[in-house]
């Protein structure tokens, strides 16, 4: 008699776990397909004042939680310098000690756009949580540099997700510096003192006498010095 109940209880636990997982999946899929539209609807929902007391309380609680989460996300986006525009999560396996998920993220780091797909496995072993990336696919837009493509391939092979994002940050900073330097020289070009050509990882500066190509940082300071002295020749 007892056994019968114990069996039923175990079965109910499993059913409940499955239903909760199913509910999560349906909710996620709603956002995958209709996220943008829903955000508009939700804004009006949040301002609505109708409904009974208990319900209203539940809604306002959810509202507060959402505000907090949005605030936190803004913080993370700012400090990490990574903006995530799309986030699809699929749970492949969930049990007491193991979790396997597939994630697809899309976003940008400054002007560099990325799409990253990866699978992550987490296993609880006693006090320790073991986590590893088991698949990784990366696409980056806005970069034509051969070196960076080679880097991305290597990182996909070694599954080094964290290294990719660390490097993306540094790289996007350099791209930004390069862009600003290029702009600076374009202004100089307008004064007809120098001709500027930006290619790959260097900026070439032509004058009547000398063709010079060098790395970004030293060019700016040197050329600024030369320009202020009114000379047309850049010698390195």
């Amino acid at each position: 008699m007892e056994q019968k109940y114990e069996d039923e209880i175990q079965m109910l636990h499993q059913e409940i776990e499955m239903l909760e997982a199913e509910q999560e999946e349906v909710l996620r899929s709603i956002f995958i397909q209709h996220g943008d539209r829903l955000q508009e609807e939700l804004k009006s929902v949040c301002e609505e004042k109708g409904g009974g007391g208990a319900h209203k309380h539940a809604l306002s609680k959810l509202n507060t939680e959402i505000r907090e989460l949005e605030k936190d996300l803004r913080r993370q986006t700012e400090i990490n310098e990574i903006a995530l525009n799309e986030c699809f999560v699929k749970t492949l396996h969930k049990s007491e000690r193991k979790l396997v998920q597939q994630l697809r993220l899309a976003g940008h780091c400054s002007v560099l756009l990325f799409q990253v797909e990866f699978a992550v496995t987490e296993i609880q072993e006693g006090d320790a949580l073991l986590r590893r990336v088991t698949e990784l696919n990366i696409v980056v837009d806005g970069v034509e540099f051969k070196d960076f493509s080679a880097f991305v391939s290597r990182v996909e092979d070694t599954k080094d997700l964290l290294l990719f994002f660390r490097t993306l940050r540094t790289f996007s900073e350099r791209c930004e510096e390069r862009r600003q330097t290029f702009q600076h020289f374009q202004r100089l070009q307008a004064c007809e003192t120098v001709g500027v050509l930006a290619e790959d990882d260097r900026i070439s500066i032509h004058t009547d006498l000398v063709h010079v190509g060098t790395d970004v940082v030293s060019v700016v300071s040197f050329a600024e010095g030369v320009h202020s002295q009114g000379r047309n020749v850049i010698v390195l």
């Binding site: 999560e24 349906v26 996620r28 539209r37 009974g52 959402i66 913080r75 400090i79 986590r131």
Partner: protein
């Protein structure tokens, strides 16, 4: 049987039998209490399961309505409308949590404001070849200048030097530098750990806290097995690969051989454990 016993014995035996009966009665009582508990538990779980089923169905209907561009608001059903709003908000909350988790998984700093904004806590996550390793934490006091109030950064890293360089004028650069160094350290340390697991003839002779030097002893395959000492120096602490590799052996011809020149390159181009595995696979070492 009882009639043959002494009255005292009868009394004792009777007492014992009564106790036995009483004990069994208690067991019975326990059993029926337990049964009640199980029954109640099963009932409440059944109710929860049914409620979940209902909710899930309602959400599926909601999804269907959205897909077909049907109006979500149903004037006749005020209660149902509230449920709908709850579902939508819950979906949105789940999406936000997923985004939070994503920032965490890609190695974000997980910045948390403490003490009403007077200080912040950041985490440095490390990983190597897809395996997440240790996380380090730091609290930064923001009252007047930016100060490090608490941390568990390994002492072998020049934290003060990094702080002096960037902490006041460029917090993000400071965090990036620290993250780079911590990840490189974790990577080098992980390599030592993986090399030790290789067993066989590879022996780690020397390593240190900063993991910027690694001395290995291997046995070169051949007619006579010879010992080879490989010294890997990591001159750039933001990197996981060595900047200098030297191969030494009693047999001079060995260290000068093309095979070992190649092995030297392997050490410079790939993580130590990977290089050693390749060498073993190629029959270079035992």
């Amino acid at each position: 049987m009882n009639s043959q016993m002494e009255p005292v014995e009868q009394g004792v035996l009777g007492h014992l039998m009564a106790l036995e009966r009483g004990g069994m009665g208690q067991q019975d009582q326990h059993q029926s209490e337990r049964l009640e508990m199980l029954k109640l538990r099963a009932l409440s779980l059944r109710a929860k399961r049914d409620q979940l089923k209902q909710q899930t169905n309602a959400i599926k209907i909601l999804k269907d309505k959205i897909s077909k561009d049907l109006p979500l608001q149903d004037d006749d059903d005020a209660g149902g409308f509230i449920e709908l709003q709850k579902s939508l908000l819950t979906a949105w909350k789940l999406q936000l949590k997923d985004l939070q988790r994503s920032h965490h998984l890609i190695g974000g700093y997980d910045l948390v404001e403490c003490k009403e904004g007077k200080s912040v806590c950041v985490s440095f996550h490390t990983a190597f070849e897809g395996v997440y390793l240790d996380t380090y934490n730091m609290e930064l006091d923001l009252t007047r200048t930016v100060q490090i109030s608490r941390h568990n950064i390994p002492p072998s890293l020049p934290l003060e030097s990094f702080a002096k360089q960037n902490l006041q004028k460029d917090l993000k650069a400071f965090l990036q530098t620290l993250s780079q160094n911590l990840n490189a350290l974790a990577g080098r340390r992980q390599q030592v750990s993986l090399v030790k697991e290789l067993a066989g003839s590879v022996e780690v002779m020397e390593s240190n806290q900063l993991c910027n030097i690694l001395v290995l002893m291997c046995t070169a395959q051949g007619e006579t097995p010879r010992a080879v000492l490989c010294t890997l120096e990591y001159g750039d602490l933001t990197q996981c690969l060595p900047t200098r590799v030297s191969i030494e052996s009693e047999d001079k011809s060995l260290s000068e051989s093309p095979q070992w020149k190649k092995n030297q390159s392997l050490f410079l181009e790939s993580p130590a454990h990977t290089a050693l595995l390749t060498m073993r696979r190629m029959g270079s070492i035992a």
